[in-house]
């Protein structure tokens, strides 16, 4: 096949591109420029898409022996990912921009453009596997549980999965680095990127405050009694315990946690740990990358964080919502996060959590 290798400048996408070449594909390397004003260097393991990263990607492509280009997707990234990140926080939800980027940029804008240009698909360095089945191609967890990225890929629909190649899903990360060394790729020991690429400081709250302003508002307990103040409700996350700066201690002296964020009144509601407990969740914008899910309750697992546990659940579709009822309650679950349903290691689908109970 004729495919585009999305190359971030990191070790994973470089090895993925090299493996795709060895698998007999005609591969062209593309680095996505996602910032219109990129920094020159990465600071530690934070951020990506710096000029240094694009040089690393180019060097890897040259060593692998494939053509290399840079695609400027800064406008698309800003409109689809950065703006969404801000508006979700402003609405009191906790978005995952990496999922959003996979859904809207890497496997939409890039894949669409690649197909229009005569390519068959996109290869990336994500840790996940695909399998062919009677129901078409399905998405599965990677063998390396620490690196598994099926969660952030669960926003892909069937067509997008059909156009995607993930050559690293069968290998542990440590072996990818060894393989990169053997292939003479200088990025073999480059640190993994963490956090949110467009917040290179790692200070999400500060980044949001700079853009959304910092309006002082009340922190209240569940009775509505004001027990503190905050500088912008959106900088809090459900389940957060640290950094609340409360002036009034709880009657029982127990620590308090963020239970709810009310953006309209700019209020943060706190309470006891037990009040964080969630036993069911509803998600909107459901996407199924395998066979569609119906109204019949089905046993499976739900995962609500990128590297969170797979929780036993019963799931079903209720109207426009995907619902998961947990066997055991979960403490602290923010709306805006993705709920991803698994059937064993197969990704069933995902939705954006809009309601918890």
């Amino acid at each position: 096949m004729k495919i585009i290798a999305a190359m971030s400048g990191g070790v994973d996408s470089a090895v993925a591109a090299a493996r795709a070449v060895e698998a007999g594909h005609e591969v062209i390397g593309v680095h996505l420029a996602l910032s219109s004003n990129p920094q020159k260097y990465r600071s530690g393991a934070r951020g990506c898409c710096t000029i240094e990263d694009s040089h690393d990607a180019r060097r890897a492509a040259d060593v692998i022996g494939i053509p290399f280009y840079i695609w400027d997707m800064a406008d698309e990234f800003h409109d689809e990912v950065v703006e969404n990140f801000m508006s979700e926080y402003a609405a009191g939800r906790t978005p995952n921009p990496c999922l959003r980027c996979n859904e809207k940029i890497k496997f939409a804008a890039v894949l669409d453009r690649a197909k229009a240009m005569g390519f068959d698909g996109v290869v990336t360095g994500h840790y996940a596997r695909t399998r062919e089945s009677n129901a078409g191609r399905t998405l599965h967890r990677a063998v390396d549980p620490l690196k598994d990225q099926s969660y952030v890929l669960a926003v892909l629909n069937r067509e997008q999965i059909d156009g995607a190649i993930f050559p690293l899903g069968d290998t542990e990360k440590v072996d990818i680095r060894i393989e990169a060394e053997k292939r003479g790729l200088a990025v073999a020991q480059k640190p993994d990127s963490h956090d949110i690429c467009f917040v290179p400081s790692g200070d999400n709250a500060g980044w949001l405050r700079d853009r959304l302003g910092s309006e002082v508002g009340p922190i209240v307990d569940q009775d509505g009694t004001k027990i503190g103040e905050h500088n912008g409700a959106y900088t809090y996350t459900i389940g957060q315990r640290k950094g609340l700066g409360l002036s009034v201690a709880a009657p029982d002296g127990a620590p308090r946690f963020v239970l709810k964020i009310e953006p309209v009144t700019n209020t943060v509601v706190v309470g006891a740990r037990k009040d964080l407990a969630v036993s069911s969740m509803r998600g909107e914008r459901a996407i199924f990358c395998g066979p569609a899910v119906g109204a019949a309750p089905t046993r499976g697992f739900v995962q609500v964080r990128a590297h969170g546990a797979a929780l036993d659940c019963t799931y079903y579709v209720d109207g426009a919502h995907l619902v998961a009822e947990l066997d055991e309650p979960l403490l602290g679950l923010a709306t805006g996060q993705a709920m991803v349903i698994y059937d064993g290691d197969r990704v069933v689908g995902s939705a954006t959590i809009c309601e918890t109970a």
């Binding site: 062209i28 694009s54 280009y69 453009r113 229009a116 005569g118």
Partner: protein, 380 residues
């Protein structure tokens, strides 16, 4: 087959330059040394300097060798500014970054004021603007720099008129693209300073020259051994200098042949894509450069597709990250940022043939169709 249509970026070294360079590489001697070997290398360098001076129409002592055209431009812009008590720098709005960026640097760090001369839709500077500017603020202007021809469009600039309008104000021209392609005389133009580069004329990479009026002592960028009138210290790059002179002397560039190829290409493009627009077509242009807007496309997609069809062309000047940005040259000519990002530069050189043109034209329709499709999905 593969077709190279990016001669404005760099063009193959000619055989005589490769031969001269190989011979010089085997030769021992620092041209600044006083002994036999040093004198021998020095003679080669000075022979080359005289050959280059003859081609440029200047005194041999007016040739200052540099490591690149960019360095020569930096030396000229910064040197002429530092050499003057005046604070205004005037450049055209379509200069190469090697002129634009040192000028902006002087604004940021040295208190310069930068005034850019606008261009017409055809890409030629507005002489009336310059006349009015010189009339109003001539006494404040430290230097004027206008390129001899533009690297993206090939549009030639009225340098003789610029010098005439400038009067006693020093005028520099970046002649990197024009040199050895079109008639060019430093002396007849009455220039103060001029930049040329080796690898655009069949010479090697890494050699350029600033032509600077004798007895003008501008502050140096590089300090050291005092070579090149103390304006550019550093051991002279004898093999590259000798090769540059050999390339210039060989004169392999046939302007009328290149111009004919370019015409055939442009005619073919317009037949295949009647909506294509040739930028700067109504102005005098260099023989080899063709800058074409393909509405509804994105040039980085087109470049990828042309490259996969083995045709090498350019999206204009690349920036640091390799990210394609709207060309300031095309924008100055009145194109929108969208249209300027829908443009490709094809540049023809001494090694191109009609078969190259035919091949490029044969792949173009599919490339443009796919480019249109790729752009359409991006806008949905």
């Amino acid at each position: 087959m593969s077709v190279y249509l990016d001669h404005a970026a760099t063009t193959p070294m000619c055989e005589s330059a490769i031969g001269a360079m190989n011979t010089a590489l085997r030769k021992l001697g620092n041209p600044s040394s006083l002994h036999t070997q040093g004198r021998s290398t020095r003679k080669d360098v000075e022979d080359a300097r005289e050959q280059i001076a003859r081609a440029v129409h200047c005194q041999p002592s007016e040739v200052i060798f540099t490591g690149s055209g960019t360095e020569a431009n930096n030396a000229a812009i910064k040197g002429l500014f530092w050499n003057s008590p005046k604070k205004v720098i005037v450049i055209s709005s379509i200069e190469h970054h090697a002129v634009l960026d040192p000028a902006l640097w002087l604004v940021e760090h040295e208190g310069a004021e930068l005034i850019q001369i606008p261009v017409t839709n055809a890409g030629v500077i507005d002489l009336d603007f310059l006349r009015a500017l010189v009339a109003a603020r001539g006494s404040e202007i430290a230097l004027i720099s206008v390129m001899h021809s533009n690297n993206e469009t090939g549009v030639m600039q009225p340098i003789a008129e610029v010098v005439n309008v400038a009067g006693s104000i020093p005028v520099h021209t970046d002649a990197v693209q024009s040199f050895s392609k079109v008639p060019l005389s430093y002396k007849d133009l009455g220039l103060f300073a001029m930049t040329i580069s080796g690898h655009k004329v069949g010479g090697p990479l890494g050699i350029g020259a600033l032509i600077l009026r004798r007895a003008v002592e501008i502050p140096a960028l590089l300090h050291g051994g005092g070579q090149e009138r103390d304006i550019r210290s550093g051991t002279l790059n004898a093999p590259s200098i000798v090769a540059l002179a050999a390339a210039i002397t060989a004169g392999v560039y046939d302007a009328s042949a290149v111009s004919k190829l370019r015409s055939h290409f442009e005619e073919g493009v317009l037949r295949a894509r009647p909506d294509a627009v040739i930028n700067g077509q109504s102005a005098p242009r260099l023989p080899g450069i063709s800058n074409i807007t393909f509405p509804g496309t994105q040039s980085d997609s087109l470049l990828l597709l042309m490259d996969s069809e083995k045709v090498s062309c350019s999206t204009g000047a690349a920036c640091t990250a390799g990210v394609h940005r709207p060309s300031h040259v095309l924008m100055a000519m009145g194109l929108t940022d969208v249209l300027s990002q829908s443009s490709l530069r094809f540049s023809f050189g001494a090694t191109n043939t009609q078969a190259d043109v035919d091949y490029a034209l044969s792949v173009l329709p599919t490339v443009i169709e796919r480019g249109l499709a790729a752009n359409a999905v991006g806008k949905k």
